[in-house]
Amino acid sequence: MIRLYAVVPAGWQAPTDHASIARLSLVRGDEVAVLYDEPGNDPGTGRDDLVAYGQVLTDLAATGPILPIRYGTAVGTLEDLRQTLEQRAPAWRARLAAVADHAEMIVHVLDGRARPGPETPSSSGRDYLMSKVNAHRSGRALYDDLAAAVAPYVSELRRLGNDAELRVACLVPRRDLDPFRAAVERWSASREDRRTRVTGPWPPFSFTEEGDAA
């Protein structure tokens, strides 16, 4: 079993000061390369295994542009890996260019009430549906408002999850991380009904494929 970690540029060189990266192997194509290891029959699927995998990706992201591969992806042989790499190389090369010198930041917008009130039971099916529509519209308006506030510092946006909580992944140039944080703070100061949390910087998990913002 060959467990895949990340797509990197074809000219990628392993740093000498990261033991977690040094143990990985590399299949190199003309345009891109893929990092992998061979964990044997028990690759590990517990929480600690995911955290360790994530730490390797975070260390890799510090060495240059990467496209993290979804946890648990594997191929059977190196020939399978080379075949996959050849098929996906043009798209991957384009995305590596798009995420180069960027980091992913995730903004959580939470209900700011100390104790959210109980939901009022709907008197009819129509009322229930309308409450869902209103919640969707409210979430959409909140997303649009946040997107406008951080637009000068963000290359791409992806809305994550569902309407229950607004989570937005932002692809931010590394040079703009501090201005981005400041923009979120200014936006949050105007929203007394919400609490805001920003996590990151992360490898570009949410930006490995070209797509429209949510």
Binding site: V7, R47, V51, T58, P68, T73, T196, R197, V198, T208
Partner: protein, 74 residues
């Protein structure tokens, strides 16, 4: 800005960021499908507020899975 409306900044290495890391590892990243791709981790993720409980992953069967839906999608 009042203290209660200050933004909470959480670095990638902090415990509070763990939910985002785990979520992105299994719901983000490059997705590969096809008859040469094996999926070795089909992890059910259950959120309990900010606490995260990982259900045991199913073991990979010998056969190669093609676009098989996760339990959450079924």
């Amino acid at each position: 800005m009042s203290a209660e409306h200050a933004v909470e900044h959480v670095g990638a290495g902090e415990d509070l960021a763990l939910v985002d890391l785990l979520d992105r590892l299994i719901d983000g990243g490059v997705v590969l499908t096809g008859d040469i791709i094996l999926s070795v981790a089909d992890v059910d993720l259950v959120y309990l507020g900010l606490r995260l409980v990982l259900a045991p992953a199913r073991e990979v069967s010998e056969s190669i899975r093609l676009g098989q839906k996760s339990p959450q999608e079924k």
